[in-house]
Symmetry: C2
């Protein structure tokens, strides 16, 4: 079984891109040539069909350009079972196109409950004596709030199934200061530095041939100084960088999350790739072109910034 970090690094190299496209279905923003199906289908079928069709088009436009997609599960869950049916279809469509699939769910719980989440996303569930996969994606975001024991079932699943996790360390929102930035009495340093040390420890010994661990971290592109510190504290962790684009993070900020080898991070953009048009009457051809151009522009932005910083052109 190939280590998740190795699979991600290989995909980044083969696509010459560390960019990730985020999929967060918002029916009210999906083009009308897709949502028109609501006039002919029952509403629940229309929900599933609209989200799946939209994402298949996005995936067709980007599958040659990026190594992975990140599905934000909250936006699927918001549509109930029809939304989660589309979640399953979108995962399969992404895998069919050779993309790695990251689920952004920020799950966190204790003991057997954490195991249940690990089974759901990374492993398999026992059903009437037989083991069966549920979503079976490549990687999941998790929160460390409940402590290291709450992460153990996910790490076990990573080892057993060749999967990965990204642990929240410093998130991209202003309120991340409330807990993550708190200075600790023990060290005089912010809480996020302690979290980075946990990530480094939890991933120890699990390095693939790439030298990277399957226990990664989330560090927002909106906090470039913190990123510089965090990059050094967990040198073997792949950093998932949200906040580029719509949230105001730049390529220069995101570059602080990379190592000197020009690797070690993947940068996500969601709305700025898939919802950049303001007119929902956009045609299919124009949608595909827009999504593709947005992705090419992001690839170029990140690549040239990394080349300037690290002198490598991947």
């Amino acid at each position: 079984m190939i280590n998740f970090a190795d699979r991600l690094v290989t995909a980044v190299r083969s696509k010459s891109s560390p960019c990730i496209v985020g999929l967060d279905p918002r029916l009210e923003s999906i083009p009308e040539f897709i949502t028109g199906c609501r006039y002919t289908l029952p509403v629940n079928d229309a929900i599933t069909s609209c989200i799946t069709q939209f994402h298949e088009l996005v995936l067709d436009a980007i599958s040659e350009l990026v190594p992975a997609v990140k599905l934000q599960i909250a936006f699927y869950e918001r549509y109930g079972l029809p939304g989660l049916a589309a979640f399953g279809h979108t995962i399969r469509a992404a895998k069919d196109r050779g993309l790695l699939v990251i689920v952004d769910a920020k799950r966190n719980d204790i003991a057997s409950t954490a195991e249940a989440y690990a089974d759901e996303f990374l492993g398999m569930t026992e059903v009437f004596g037989a083991m069966r996969p549920v979503y079976d994606v490549d990687c999941l975001t998790v929160s460390p709030f409940l402590g290291r024991d709450s992460l153990a079932p996910f790490i076990d699943a990573c080892h057993l199934y060749g999967k990965g996790i990204f642990v929240l360390v410093k998130t991209s929102n202003p309120g991340s200061a409330d807990i993550q930035d708190e200075l600790l009495l023990e060290t005089g340093r912010p809480c996020y530095e302690k979290l980075a040390k946990y990530v480094d420890e939890l991933g120890a010994g699990d390095w693939g041939n790439s030298g990277y661990s399957s226990v990664g971290a989330v560090v927002g592109a909106t906090f470039p100084e913190e990123a510089t510190t965090l990059r050094k504290l967990m040198p073997r962790a792949i950093i998932l960088v949200p906040g580029y684009g719509a949230q105001g993070g730049t390529a220069v900020s995101a570059a602080n999350c990379f190592n000197d080898d020009g690797l070690g991070a993947v940068v996500n953009a969601s709305r700025s790739i898939t919802y950049s048009y303001s007119d929902r009457r956009i045609s299919k051809a124009d949608l595909e072109s827009e999504v593709r151009q947005n992705t090419l522009r992001m690839n170029h932005d990140i690549r040239t910034t990394l080349a300037a910083r690290f002198g490598v052109r991947r």
Copy 2:
């Protein structure tokens, strides 16, 4: 619209019980007279049917005895769409029996993603221009790790729809020490005390006629000393107390989460109520009796402990 805290306090009084029964479906533990349907139904239908039937029986046994149930969503999600279909059925079955429904999902995300979760569990989702409820439960557990801005959409939903949240403050697991117990440089006090102050502030002004807020907190029964401190720091918050029973928390420990009025907390037990039998060949009548007896025993244990402590008999 009646404030959630008032609805919960009224239900606690009318049932003379602050006990909550936790529902976490584990097919491998459900009695055979229910799981036998796997021989006649397609596997996905059997999953939905087994979980729904089991919980209907549990709900019939307990609905007169407790004010609310807590559904642990991870155990439903682990079975994919058929599991979540059973989640929806179980919520409706609990409401039909007059029980309040708490979902234990520990969700946490930022901005529009947090709004999506709030829509899913507490509010409504816009679908093709119309608003529709998804799960529409009474209360949700949320994590504060991403900061106060990440909780705002949930609090807005509480106000708009008369719902409640329980914010994780000090969880019942050993690893809760890792972050929640960290002493902060600013105060020299543990992180969980700062979280309790957030809970107190976020609930300010939202007190119902009961004097309690719809912004509650989670404090594990496994940490009685911390509970005593936390109870004082957020006097208006209702505390959801996990960890009683299977996790080793006692009624005496849990009592530290209550106020002197004998109110202000609800105590959850899951496995010790619904999976106390070791032989899955248990009959329907014995299952109902066992679940009922377990609940009566817990009610008695908590009630007599509170009566001894506070001199009230509710």
